[in-house]
């Protein structure tokens, strides 16, 4: 057992090297996770950026009796194939509502057809060689260019990629989230208050607690099965509606809100409760006037995180039919509707490659909303969090 000093110091060096290696390896794991994130975000930005730009063409539109009957005749035939068919479709309507247009010719910027858009974006395009020449000439004359795509934010879904927008899905998301939060926020907070402040510590309470923890880990798709069998099959809630989607997501979000609210309530020190009891408050008065106001930031933070989670959820909504094709947004709770992640899913499964950029564009919008919500939650937590 006799080791020389040299041997021991060599061994020590080796041990320290191994320790350092461990440090670098674990650091590598963290860096790997960050690299994944950067790769992912940049991939989405590169893919999605074109969706915010759209090719437009300046054309002379002739409004007369003939073009009212045959809208295609309104535009000179060299550029006719370059203009989106959706533009022609709306011409008769526009002439109906503005009779003074009749008999005039107006030079207007109109939306170009999807292949033109793809060509100008520098992507693969099915545009023929001569059409490419026409487009190139138009670009040189300043009569065709990429402009900011406002339509993407104001229109509903369409079978023509150049006309499709995210607005209908955004409104669907809004309605669905309204239902979800108005159901699960009160119930979640009430449950948490009951379990933390009122419930006796008995078997029944323990079962409820275990049950809530399990619900939080149930795969989301099973909530879709529940929505399908119970809400739609049993209660007859209209399929595809924000009502059924919202109720399904509410059950899914409930455990998230309960767990975070309980944590917020638990972090309120007992001294506050004791002081309130000491001056004669009843239990409900203690909770209402002292515990809840103090823990409100924590509760809101948890709820916003739950909301963000529900907003990105797709699987249960597919099962209750919220992947409908919705060209017009509707603000009702019972009409067929779609939500942003479901819209992304629909676009992703379109074979037309022009929809790929719509998909990524929709993702960027959704991510922006979600990151905003999460940042809001973090900000709330940092601003109002109190250490006791």
């Amino acid at each position: 057992m006799s080791q020389s000093f040299e041997e021991i110091s060599a061994q020590l060096k080796k041990r320290h090297r191994r320790s350092a290696r461990m440090k670098w390896m674990t650091m590598g794991a963290l860096i790997l996770a960050a690299v994944f994130l950067v790769f992912f975000i940049s991939d989405m930005v590169v893919r999605g950026w074109p969706a915010f730009q759209q090719a437009q063409i300046k054309v002379d539109i002739t409004y007369n009796e003939q073009s009212k009957e045959i809208p295609l005749a309104a535009v000179n035939e060299t550029v006719r194939p370059l203009v989106s068919r959706g533009v022609f479709r709306t011409l008769p309507q526009r002439m109906e509502s503005n009779p003074e247009l009749m008999g005039t010719t107006k030079t207007q910027w109109v939306i170009a057809d999807s292949p033109v858009d793809q060509y100008l974006q520098g992507n693969k395009s099915e545009l023929s060689a001569e059409a490419r020449e026409v487009v190139d000439r138009l670009v040189r004359q300043g009569r065709a260019e990429l402009k900011f795509n406002t339509r993407f934010f104001t229109a509903g879904d369409s079978k023509m990629p150049e006309l499709a927008g995210i607005a209908a899905a955004a409104i669907g998301t809004l309605m669905t989230m309204l239902v979800t939060m108005s159901v699960c926020f009160p119930i979640g907070v009430m449950t948490a208050v009951y379990l933390e402040e009122f419930a006796p510590d008995n078997k029944l309470t323990q079962i409820v607690e275990i049950n809530i923890n399990n619900l939080a880990a149930v795969p989301s798709i099973l909530f879709g099965l529940l929505g399908l069998a119970i809400y739609i099959g049993f209660f007859g809630v209209p399929r595809s509606s924000p009502l059924v989607g919202g109720l399904t997501l509410a059950l899914m979000t409930l455990p998230v809100i309960i767990i975070s609210t309980r944590a917020a309530l638990r972090s309120v020190p007992d001294s506050i409760r004791h002081a309130a009891f000491g001056v004669g408050c009843s239990r409900w008065q203690v909770v209402r006037d002292h515990v809840l106001p103090v823990s409100l930031p924590g509760i809101l933070t948890g709820s916003i995180i739950g909301l963000a989670q529900a907003m990105g959820e797709t699987a249960p909504l597919i099962l209750v039919g919220m992947v409908a094709f919705i060209p017009e947004a509707s603000m009702t709770l019972t009409d067929a509707s779609t939500v942003m992640p479901a819209q992304i899913f629909t676009w992703a499964s379109e074979p037309d490659s022009a929809f790929a950029e719509k998909t990524a564009g929709g993702i960027l919008v959704l991510l922006a909303v979600l990151i905003f919500l999460n940042a809001l939650a973090v900000w709330l937590r940092n601003k109002f969090e109190r250490r006791w």
């Binding site: 041990r15 191994r18 320790s19 461990m22 440090k23 674990t26 794991a29 963290l30 790997l32 996770a33 994944f36 992912f40 991939d43 989405m44 893919r47 009430m190 449950t191 208050v193 009951y194 379990l195 009122f198 419930a199 409820v208 049950n211 809530i212 399990n214 619900l215 880990a217 149930v218 795969p219 798709i221 099973l222 909530f223 099965l225 399908l228 069998a229 119970i230 059950l251 455990p255 009843s282 409900w284 907003m311 990105g312 959820e313 699987a315 597919i318 099962l319 992947v323 992640p341 992304i344 899913f345 992703a348 499964s349 990524a360 993702i363 959704l366 991510l367 979600l370 990151i371 973090v378």
Partner: protein, 425 residues
């Protein structure tokens, strides 16, 4: 006739009902408080404040009325009867008026209004807590009920051990053309489970080392600045919706896998199992790292200090002291992660194949349980067909497996908690 017209739009009836209820509640509050104030002004000492009598009267007015109308609506729905909503709501308003009188009657010096309110609130809160139990029951009933219907059509044994999943043929048999043996629907779920476990395995091979490594680094080695910067990165990763990961897997990773496999002379399918597995692993990294972070953080520092005092290096301390101490928590986190991977839907729906395929090669396309559930329920099948019902049978298996994993994980974490007396897990 006037009522007929209102009956045409239930919205107006509903609004009128709400307005009536709010009005009655307001009247109840004002009257009771006034009465209590009067009584108190005579010098009689009362058990509660006038406001509390007021609120109690509001509860007796609105509570029974709401309860009756909700119960009535539920019964109407169950019976499918078409009794006009109007009568129900009118009856509720009458009950509200009766409640108002009763509540007003209770404004007596010897009545504990505050205690009464308290018990009502307590019951309300308990009812809210019961909803979570109802949710679980709802999941169980909906899934088990339909799954039993499925097992009446097809044997349980075939479902568990069969190796051919071919539900599409049930359409033929329902059209009366299923007699020729070849086209009978087959519901052997083994290939689905094989696919699910393959993708889960790939995901875990990515997520557990990276997630655990990141957690160890953040707790044991990282300076505070790095920690502060890294937490949000992982949180963003955790906040990305699964459908977005699905797009990423299908559009970016799957072609990448095909290209890389091509470099090695291997042929990969564009809906290979590797791409969704890898992306699912990325998705689960923050899940594992945040759970393990909490666990490693709550290993008592006395253990660390004791170990360091014996002269071992930091790396040896982590490997031989911290990680073994935190092992139950880490295993519990990994089990939860497995349960999440098994139930993950969007990534596999978008990036994995639709063809049930019993193979060990992750470069081939495989399908999973969740993909089959979605496929079975989004087709044009009628609800009672064997194909739609098979989704519920698969859901039942998924529920049982994930539930078992969750319970085991809870037991593990409890063991850890009791050993080190940590309360924040």
């Amino acid at each position: 006739m006037f009522f007929r017209e209102i009956d045409m739009s239930t919205n107006i009836v509903f609004l009128l009902f709400c307005a009536g209820l709010v009005g009655l509640g307001g009247v109840a509050f004002v009257l009771s408080r006034a009465k209590a104030t009067r009584v108190r002004a005579t010098g009689t000492s009362m058990y509660a404040q006038p406001d509390q009598y007021g609120w109690f009267a509001v509860l007796t007015t609105a509570g029974p009325a709401l309860l009756i109308s909700a119960l009535g609506a539920f019964v109407l729905l169950l019976m499918g009867a078409d009794i006009p909503l109007l009568y129900l709501l009118a009856a509720s308003l009458v009950i509200a008026a009766i409640g108002l009188v009763l509540g007003l009657n209770q404004v007596r010096p010897d009545f504990h209004a505050r205690r009464a309110i308290e018990s009502v609130i307590r019951k309300l809160l308990a009812a809210a807590a019961a909803i979570s139990i109802l949710t679980t029951l709802g999941i169980l009933i909906s899934i088990v009920g339909e799954a039993l219907r499925f097992f009446q059509l097809h044997s349980f044994w075939d479902f568990i051990t069969g190796t051919t999943w071919n539900p599409g043929a049930s359409f033929l048999s329902s059209a009366g053309r299923g007699e020729d043996g070849g086209s009978a629907a087959q519901f052997g779920s083994v290939p689905l489970f094989a696919g699910t476990f393959m993708i889960t395995l790939i995901a875990m091979l990515v997520a557990i080392p990276v997630g655990l490594g990141a957690a160890v680094y953040m707790v044991e080695f990282a300076p505070a600045r790095v920690r502060q910067a890294a937490k949000p990165v992982l949180e963003v990763l955790a906040g990305i919706p699964t459908v977005v990961y699905g797009v990423f897997a299908a559009l970016t990773v799957a072609p990448l896998v095909v290209d890389i496999a091509g470099l090695f002379g291997l042929e990969a399918s564009y809906s290979n199992a590797l791409a969704p597995g890898l992306v699912m692993g990325i998705m689960i990294i923050p899940f594992i790292s945040s759970l393990s972070d909490d666990v490693i953080n709550s290993v008592p520092s006395s253990l660390r200090e004791g170990a360091l005092a014996l002269g071992i290096t930091k790396g040896e301390m982590v490997r031989n002291v911290v990680v073994p101490a935190a092992a139950p928590g880490i295993i519990s986190a990994s089990l939860l992660a497995v349960s999440r991977a098994l139930g993950e839907t969007m990534i596999v729906v978008m990036a994995a194949g639709m063809r049930p395929n019993l193979t060990a090669n992750p470069l081939e396309d495989m399908t999973t349980v969740t993909v089959s559930i979605v496929a079975a329920l989004t087709g044009d099948q009628e609800f009672g067909s064997a194909q739609t019902l098979s989704a519920f049978a698969l859901g039942l298996v998924l529920f049982i497996v994930t539930l078992t994993l969750n319970i085991v994980s809870v037991i593990m974490i409890r063991r850890f908690r009791e050993k080190y007396r940590v309360n924040n897990l």
